[in-house]
Assembly symmetry: C3
Homo-oligomer: 472 residues x 3
């Protein structure tokens, strides 16, 4: 298997088999980590960190040095030439002509994809805003696999801030892809966003079972609120109503994945939530459901994971961090084509859903303000690029930041010059949006955009507009 | 040819033949860029960036890594030990005892020369304020030469901000040195400074032909305002009045060198100029004068160069950036003495003008506030160092920042103890300044300085002083 | 001799013999500095600078590169993940799992010790607040030894800011350890702190002779105020009262070690002292006492050392800085176990004093606000750790920052359940503190802490409390 010249922007870029390939090579490299100095000799990695991240950056740079390669590094570059108004694409093209591989962290969601699109060399996403951090996920999965021998069928509890943690969302999809079961244990108010749940079910299959208030009442310090069960498993639990789901699963918990509150992303109302954030400590781990559970954490920790656990044999978070080096060594050498790896292609993941693409320039913009595609420096050259992930209601997903949204109006390209009277636009919620063929679909976010494109409101839209006017 | 232990502070430090030597080695290295790992093995480059510059810094560091050498790097060091009041000379001596070669970028003009004077190792100027950026010029010349086979006789249009671009001033002198013709196409209000024009004529020969208002009127989107023709060419154009100069030259344009507005250097009155800045786009390039013209740009670009040109085969700016690596590899390995290079020494450049030196400590200071020689930390040890570049009017040029200025008073060291009555100082504009032998010349910037040195005003100076007094 | 896996946090961590071992290897490496590329091939140094220090950091990084190793570097990391509330211990554990050796500079005193305690790999203190900077001291000692052939018996004058210079305090103890004599020449108001003098006498032996006002009057520009004479030397001077001590010693001065005023640490009252700071210049060095004296300085200098001395053959400060590279090369390769070194173990230093340890959790905290042990992020896991360095008065020394202080109350663990009446606490100044066996000693900093631990005030404490109450 070769991954030469591939990029890793989201966990979806690699199949289960390809990730297994990375893990196999990581195993091999971990065994003789000081003997890899010839693997990437003469290769140059550009390590571009537009946001601080000592840990992620240093583990990538260590990986490259242990492979015998060199590193050029730009840290906290918010204030440099890019501030002169340069675009990410221009920067990517220039650095792509210097280096052999790029690792990038950037506050704008989708920025790593732009770098991959323009640099001409392999790119690794080292974190793009609140979007993805796929190598953290690789390290998490590798740790579970190394300690348990497998990921499929494992029961993994996710604990704490399940709303804002970018590592958590990547991890959820990856666990589903690898056929693990997930127990959601959010800190109250920091539940997994609904769009993550929806994508999970729609694209990875399996079931979500939400806890009833009675079920929740039974668990005290263990704030379980939903369970995801993989479709690749005899789905006994959901099929047997009345079974005490949470106890059943808790008994066999394989890992407790703790996250810190991402306070810096909390809105004003959420600021107080950090005081109610549950702490994982010796007392909690006395519960028999944690008997065999590995305690994991992406680090840095603050107060949510007690220091007293550091000496507990179940605590694996420092080991998890240490595995960042061999996993990244394997990844870098594969993308550079300096190593191949044998894989056992048991593609257990659900096939990647093929959504229709929407690229018409009808004024549609991603509504996510942190999306790379709407930034002043990038909008000059980035074209609209969306997936139509749902027709009822019509839902677009930005191909840069993967943010989903429901646009307002639709029209069809299939009208004839002589039939100008039929050049109408319709409410996206009307039956029309399902009647227009995907390849003919035009989507607008405002009446103004639709009319600028030469369309006129249909009767329903007109009525709605009138109703709105008289309503005010 | 060896360039071992030489420094590159301004483009004047290298002869045409020496630059050709760099280009020849760059050609050789570009062909097998991954096979140069033994060239500088064990050598250490200090990369000292007192101002941000991701691009320049990373291309130097990449070059050193591809040569097998190591890099120590200090970025944004405004806030470090130098802020404790340390001088550049001290820093240079210390780093010079660690590393084998220094690359420095610094906001003070002339700072790189100080580093070269004190470090004891080869130094490359990576940009010193608004003064020079000679390796950018090397890359520009290399691109022209590589694409056109030669630089001599080429017609190069310089476009945009010709006032503040430091790369532009270096490039102008270098193009003249290589016997190219230059078409000045400034954005209105951002014309080439007069002192650049004067130096061009005085030191490099050739002619400047300014466009008449009628000639300008003919060109619409092409704001040509002057043409420099090299002396090494049959000077047909200037000799044939009536020939439509701009059209003649435009027909054969070899390169259009676009620059961004250096807004950060604009004064208040100039802020509005950025709105009138001309954009180079597909429409402009339809003009037949650009048929064969390479489009070049030192990057970063902002809005002055349309993204739609990126796919145009004439667009060479990303290639130009990419050549930064082989050119800098060649330069670094030559200065370190790890490579020699054959040259075809056809010294077509005008011989470097030998000006008299002025080093008397008569209180003369460079009037340029950004000059390294007038900074509080540097004035403690830097001695006056000027060239007398003109006697009529008497004009000094600072040997650090190359800023020129006209001092006020002169006197002669040739007076005798018993003749104290003859110890007079004179107005620099008077005939005296040409009567005093250069080796006897004393120069003052104020009456106070002259009197502190024991001189008395001559009659004319006295009369002027009286006139000034009564005038008020 | 092997120093493999050892750390260097304070100069006390190495014996005289071990330092000689470092110096011997530095000599060897300095002779063929470009031939050491295989020594640390494949090893990775983490260079973590939480405070700026271009000089120290670049000399470590150069050293590692000249040894053929690699460097991962984090500079000015105040603003990164540690700002998210991560502890130094967590950071140390993670980086310790990436790299092979850590160099750390941190503003908190004792931070380097925490890194050494938790990282699991060798750690070098690159400066921790005002505490220690041991590799600067190694370079200072190495320079003296290289130029004079020995350190023992040399007469070294320390000049300038002897109060705040962290390099000075390390140097004082190290010179004593190597049996040199020390002449203290402080800028008025910036004398050596009393606790340094006390430690010097108590732990290294020898004598301090303070100058009388009459003696001081004799010396004008030479502000000698005390002399330390090593116990390992025929102590003739102190034994012959009437001998003109300062003249005697000045005659044979081997080195004049100049320091800059550490203005950034001056309190408000001290700000004016910088105007009276003595300048070392040609005039001063005309004094015959400096005839053979090396002029040393840890750099950066500001105004305290005149530029005119740079060309004086006695000026060794740039050579001293240059020796930072071979000394650090030797140190790094020894700690990594890539080199051994022969030593001539003439342990002339006074044996390291073994103080009783105090680790009881009785609410005692280090009163030094810059100590790592009292920081919000570190107090969560760092336990009390002190040495009892004196019983009369009872004095604790923090094992992190080495700050000494006198706690208020004591009690004994030796009381019996049935004898609750005897569970009393006493004033630390009372005879009790010497009557309680060290292993039974409980120490409190406040009545509240003592009472929280179940003790009651004894009669004297009560009386004192009453006196205080009535006094107010």
């Amino acid at each position: 298997m070769t991954l030469k010249n591939r990029s890793l922007i989201t966990v979806d870029d690699f199949s289960v088999g390809e990730m297994e390939g990375v893990f196999n090579l990581a195993d091999e490299m971990a065994e003789s980590i000081t003997n890899q100095l010839d693997v990437c000799k003469g290769k140059v990695m550009a390590s571009l960190f537009f946001e601080s991240s000592t840990r992620t950056r240093l583990s990538f740079e260590t990986a490259m040095h242990r492979l015998g390669g060199s590193v050029i590094s730009a840290v906290d570059i918010g204030a440099t030439s890019l501030a002169k108004g340069e675009s990410i694409a221009d920067m990517a093209r220039v650095i792509g002509s210097y280096a052999d591989i790029i690792v990038i962290r950037h506050p704008w969601e989708g920025a790593a994809k732009v770098v991959a699109d323009y640099s001409g060399i392999p790119v690794i996403n080292g974190g793009d805003g609140g979007h993805q951090h796929p190598t953290q996920t690789l390290c998490d999965l590798y740790t579970i696999r190394k300690e348990r021998g497998s990921i499929a069928g494992m029961n993994i509890a996710l604990w704490g801030d399940l709303k804002y943690g970018r590592t958590i969302h990547s991890l959820i999809f990856a666990l589903a892809k690898f056929s693990a079961n997930i127990l959601f244990c959010p800190s109250p108010g920091l539940e997994v966003p609904e769009h993550v749940i929806q994508k999970l079910i729609a694209e990875y299959g399996g079931d979500i079972e939400k806890m009833t208030p009675e079920q929740k009442a039974k668990t005290d310090r263990f704030p379980l609120n939903a369970i995801y069960t993989t479709p690749n498993q005899p789905h006994q639990l959901a099929m047997m109503p009345g079974v005490d789901i949470e106890l059943e699963l808790k008994t066999g918990l394989d890992a407790l994945y703790v996250t810190r509150p991402q306070k810096e992303r909390f809105n004003d109302a959420e600021q107080q939530l950090k005081d109610k954030y549950p702490v994982v400590d010796k007392e909690l781990l006395k519960d028999k459901s944690f008997r065999r559970a590995m305690v994991m954490h992406p680090l840095p920790r603050v107060d949510e994971l007690a220091y007293e656990l550091d000496s507990d044999p179940r605590s694996l978070y420092f080991k998890q961090a240490a595995q960042g080096v061999p996993v990244r060594m394997a990844l870098v050498s594969l993308l550079l084509g300096m190593k191949d790896t044998k894989i056992t292609e048991n593609e257990t993941s659900a096939p990647k859903y093929e959504y229709p693409i929407y690229k018409q320039d009808t004024g549609i913009k991603c509504p996510n303000k942190k999306c790379v595609s709407v930034q002043a420096t990038e909008i000059r050259y980035l074209k609209p690029d969306f997936k139509i992930v749902n027709f009822k209601p019509l839902t677009l997903r930005c191909n840069y930041c993967e943010h989903g949204f429901e646009p307002k109006y639709v029209a069809s390209t299939e009208w004839h010059e002589g039939m100008l009277v039929s050049k109408k636009y319709h409410s996206a919620g009307s039956h029309w949006s399902q009647h227009i063929k995907p390849e003919n679909l035009l989507i607008f976010n405002s009446a103004k955009d639709a009319e600028a494109a030469g369309f006129k409101a249909d009767i329903r839209v007109k009525k709605e507009a009138e109703a709105n006017l008289s309503g005010t």
